[in-house]
Every structure is written in C-alpha cells, then in structure tokens.
C-alpha cells in the first residue's frame, strides 16, 4: 500500500474543506471495506485519505409516518439489517443489506460507502432506486438533493463533485399496500458480489395495481431502473404472459459485461428469470 496522508476531521465542514482545498488526490474513507482493498491491490493510490468516521450525527435511522425513512450516510449496513423500523416498513432494504459480505463486513461497511463506491453490483442500489430514494449531498457551495437513479455516472463513478459528501439517504413513504423483494444471484450464498441483483416492488391501492418498480444491479455500467418493463404491467392486465413480457423487456434494458463471474449472455438470461420470480412473488404477496 502506498503511503498517504491521513485526516480525521471532527465535523462535516472541516471534512468538506479538506476535500475541496486539497489539490492532491484525496479519497474519503468510511467503513474502508472497498477502499482499503483497492489500495492493497494498487487499483487506488490516493495521496490523502479523509476519514469520516469521526463526524458526529451521520449515523442514524429515523422514520416519520409522513416523510418516510432517513438514513445517515455513515450508518452501518449491519444496523440497517437489524433495525426494527426498517424491517417493518422497508424489509427489502434489510434483505439487500443482509446480502452484502459477512457479519464482519457489515459491521464496518456503511450505506454511504456502498453507494459512493458506485460498484455496478452495489446491493443497496437496486433496492433504494426501486424505492425512489434521494441522496442529500453537501459541499463547499451548499447542499443539494439528487435522485439516487441519477447518482451513478459509471463503474466507480458518481455525480459527486470535488469536495461533496453524501450525508443522507431519504426513502419516501410508500402509498397503499406494498411488497418488495431483492433477489441477489451469485455463485455463493454469502461473501460474493452479485452476478445480477433484481429488486421488484409492487404497490396496490384499494385492490388495484398502483405501482410496479423494477431495478437491476450488476447488469449495466450503473444500477438501472427498467421502466419499460414496469409499464407493461401497469398499462396492461396482470397475467403470466405480461410477467414474461416484462421480464424480456427488463433484459433489454441491460448492458452487461462478461467477467470472471458470468458471461454477458448469462446475465441477460438470469435477469429475465429473477424479474419473473420477483414479480410473481410480489404480486402474490402484496
């Protein structure tokens, strides 16, 4: 690992100041489970590291009936997985959090890190995109809010500008009755990243299908939403044929790569299978 300068700011302003004034290549570290591996393998060799763990007030899970859920960016994946309010209101987020790494990893890794590392396979992303989550970001020039769907710019890249820090993830309240699943497909049950990750969320109001949301991970340069597939079910009637058609459409939204885990062809095929499974389960249980 190349030597680096290490900063431990105690508040957000100080952290933003260090990040925006350094003309050196600075990286933010939270849980460190991605960054330290990238540094070990020489994929990253930042000159400065800014540790956010000392920042107060960014590790929280708050729920209000009207506004929905707010999660501080330094909240550990393990806290999300175990949170009783998340389990009750957004169980799909617990599923996604639990699918990541091991207990050890989830005790360190944060939700903000999972998103800002911007791996196409980041498991929190499809679930949060399907929930239409927003990101609160703070920088030297003030705050802004970005829809999570627009947060990712490419593999390992986000729309965060120099000096900006992700501070909060806002998950709006879901109307009516809803059911969601996150299905991660991998070669192992744990300790692996996804070959494909699919999140499906269905909402119903007064017995009528109100919303269909399908988000996909690990099958494109960024996590994506498959809106054309959603439309097929929303516009037409819900039938086995429509489910199959929606699954085909979801596969068309993908631009997968071939890598050590899977071929491009297989990723497209497995997306069809997972979307079908997800839709069937959600429609049955909603």
């Amino acid at each position: 690992m190349r030597a680096f300068e290490h900063f431990q700011p105690s508040n957000l302003k100080e952290a933003i100041k260090i990040l925006s004034t350094k003309d050196k290549e600075a990286r933010v570290i939270a849980g460190g489970t991605d960054l330290l591996n990238a540094m070990r393998d020489g994929e990253e060799s930042p000159e400065c590291i800014v540790d956010l763990k000392g920042l107060k007030g960014l590790d929280y899970i708050k729920y209000k009936e009207k506004e929905g859920l707010r999660i501080g960016s330094l909240t550990k994946l393990g806290s999300i997985e175990k949170s009783s309010i998340v389990k009750k209101k957004y169980p799909v987020l617990c599923q996604a959090a639990h699918s990541i790494g091991s207990v050890q990893i989830r005790n360190m890794a944060t939700i903000g890190g999972n998103l800002c590392n911007a791996a196409p396979s980041a498991d929190m992303a499809p679930a949060l995109i399907a929930l239409e989550a927003e990101c609160k970001v703070q920088g030297a020039k003030g705050k802004r809010t970005i829809s999570l769907e627009d947060f990712f710019a490419g593999p390992g890249e986000t729309v965060l500008k120099k000096g900006e820090i992700l501070t909060e993830i806002i998950v709006p309240k879901l109307a009516g009755k809803c059911f969601g699943v996150y299905i991660k497909h991998g070669l192992r049950k744990a300790m692996d990243i996804a070959i494909a990750g699919v999140c499906v969320i269905i909402t119903k109001e007064r017995g009528k299908l109100k919303g269909v949301r399908i988000a996909l991970g690990a099958v494109a340069p960024t996590p994506i939403r498959a809106k054309n597939a959603e439309k097929i079910l929303l516009d037409g009637s819900v039938s086995e044929d429509a489910i199959t058609e929606a699954a085909e459409e979801a596969a068309k939204a993908c631009f997968p790569i071939s890598d050590v885990r899977s071929s491009e062809w297989y990723r497209r095929e497995i997306v069809k299978v997972l979307v079908r499974r997800g839709l069937r389960e959600c429609l049955e249980k909603v």
């Binding site: 030597a3 393990g78 360190m108 049950k189 744990a190 300790m191």
Partner: protein, 164 residues
C-alpha cells in the same frame, strides 16, 4: 511520484495511537497505512489473530472491536484509536476456556486450526447477541469465516452445544 508536492517526510510520519487490547492499554506509533492486524501481530506480538486472505474474505483475522466482529485486515490502526479490542488471547477468563473454545475441542471441530481463532470470536459475538440461535442462524453468522478443513459440521455442532 509518491509524495510529490507534499511536505517532505510527511508521509512517513507516525502517529501515536492508544489501543485497549484484551483489557491492556498500549501506546503505539503507527504509519497511517498500517493495518490493525499488523499492529496486533507484529507490534504487540499477539499472533493468535491470523492473516489469511488479507482482504476481508476469509475471517481468519477476526477480532472484536467495541464488541462487534470486524476483519482486522480491513481496519487502519489509526482508525482503531480509542477502541476496545478483544483478540483470541482475551477470550478465556481466569484461565478457563470460553465455552465455545471448550466445545470446539470436545467436538473435534479443529483440524489445521488456522480459522479457529476467528471462528471462536464470531461464535462468541453471535451468542452474545443471540444466546439461542438456530442452525441456520449459526451458519449464516459464520459465512464470513472460511474453514477449508472441516466442512463446518462439527463447528456448527459445537456452537449448538453451547446455546443458552
């Protein structure tokens, strides 16, 4: 060029950190890039904590940090400043093995032993959190501790035997 444009020598400046390991206090000077695992093994000499993969996949380097299991290979030592750390050497109390340690012996759940320190700490953390886990919960909790000898059957049996 590493260090180009920065204050000469700054990169190699060590910082003094204070760690509480197994109840004892240590003051150690570390480079920012030094991992907690290296401090525990090389500076303090507690070699019960093992380095397997060095990238958070195998769990051999598992320690308890403020009561929670973490991979010490993925923790920068300076970021463990002020934390309370328990390694395998700190699990036995007054010379008595921890019930998990005794159970692993009784069930013959140790072969080469390289994963065992990590397994003991993870099992301890599980039982502290949930004194009566199901077999599924035990297997799920252990998924970050890889054992290539035993096939896990005896490890799981041993942990089941010490449930509350």
């Amino acid at each position: 060029m590493p260090g180009e444009g920065l204050k000469k020598g700054y990169f190699h400046m060590k910082k003094i950190i204070e760690l509480k390991i197994n109840g004892d206090f240590y003051e150690i000077a570390v480079k920012p890039s030094k991992r907690l695992l290296s401090v525990i093994r090389d500076d303090i000499g507690l070699t019960g904590t093992k380095e397997g993969c060095g990238k958070g996949d195998c769990g051999a380097c598992t320690v308890l940090m403020n009561g929670k299991v973490v991979n010490s290979c993925l923790v920068l030592a300076i970021e463990a400043q002020g934390k309370e750390i328990i390694t395998i050497e700190g699990v036995a109390e007054n010379g008595d093995l921890h019930p998990v340690q005794q159970a692993l012996i009784d069930y013959g759940a140790v072969q080469c032993g390289f994963c065992t320190p990590g397994i003991v700490l993870t099992a301890k953390a599980l039982l502290d959190e949930n004194p009566n886990p199901s077999e599924e919960e035990i297997r799920d909790y252990l998924s970050g501790n890889i054992c290539r000898c035993t096939g896990y059957v005896k490890i799981v049996q041993a942990i089941k035997s010490v449930r509350g």
